[in-house]
Subunit: 137 residues, 3 copies
């Protein structure tokens, strides 16, 4: 088995958008018993992260941390032409993940109990983000 | 070849715990000539990292850096119910790796001379951490 | 298909060095229709990143951010024997990527329009960095 697909994720400003169920459904369409599922986001101002999906305050605090550590302040950057949130978005992407692979065991992603898969949007305006999926096994 | 397994790693507070030898032994049990070995940690308050394993001061300084940049300070976070070290642990996880894949070449992981594989524990109390392993080739 | 290779990348001090074309040529030598291409850098003081390759100011600002957030200041570190830029290099590596996998779709890496693959050099002196490549599909 070796197949590829993609998801489009609509975002509405900075924050984390859970995609666990959508990825699980794509896998379930034509699963493997054992293998590897890879997600790759085709952007440099949005990224991927695994986080706790039990308490929504976790993803709120995570987003707030990245806003503090990578401030929107044009004096810090040369690349300002695309808006005050663009260069910080590239840096936040570099600090998180563009790609994420999850082992498939017994036909399902081997996620821990509280783990959710998220698209991490780093820009202020709504965007449509594309995540490429690839499964091998 | 396509197989999966797991390691359980006992931690004793914040810091890095090397697992290179344990992963190498799991690979050697039934190796492939060329392929890909993936590690995935099933937690959101501990992570994975590749670091220099020659001088123990390196992993000490790395842990100290993360303590400075992601402080334990309840005023910074909404998610405080699981203790002052919990939300910082989630953030430190997001800044490092939940998953790590290493090419297998000539039947061994293609690690550089000084590279070691570590579980990075971000919580203060001892934990038992589960790392899923998956090999394809 | 399951093959491995490597690239050697000559760096000239801190900054990002694009390798997209070299990786694409290695893939094109003997491609797969659908699969997974993995890059792994065999060092702990240089790393990998995907960034925008349209405006060179982006990679300049990215490097400047890492210099601010992980300062060269011997008072902060125990591991100082290899020079003031060595421990910061290990930390910057931990904050970025040692490994990166990209899905292959229709015989090509599924990169977004503006995405480039970079070796991120964290040391001041010139180095020769080795990136292991592995392709499965």
């Amino acid at each position: 088995m070796n197949r590829a697909g993609s998801l489009e994720v609509a975002t509405r400003g900075q924050g984390l958008y859970e995609i666990t169920d959508r990825v699980a459904r794509w896998l379930a369409d034509d699963p493997v018993q054992t293998g590897l599922l890879t997600m790759f986001i085709q952007h440099t101002s949005a990224s991927l992260s695994i986080q706790e999906n039990a308490d929504p305050d976790v993803v709120h605090d995570l987003n707030a941390f990245f806003s503090r550590i990578v401030p929107e302040d044009d004096r810090l950057y040369r690349h300002t032409i695309e808006g005050p949130d663009d260069m910080p978005a590239h840096i936040r992407s570099a600090l998180t993940l563009t790609q994420l692979s999850i082992p498939v065991v017994d036909g399902r992603m081997a996620l821990g109990t509280w783990q959710g898969i998220y698209v991490f949007e780093h820009r202020s305006a709504p965007h449509r983000r594309k995540v490429v999926l690839q499964l091998m096994g």
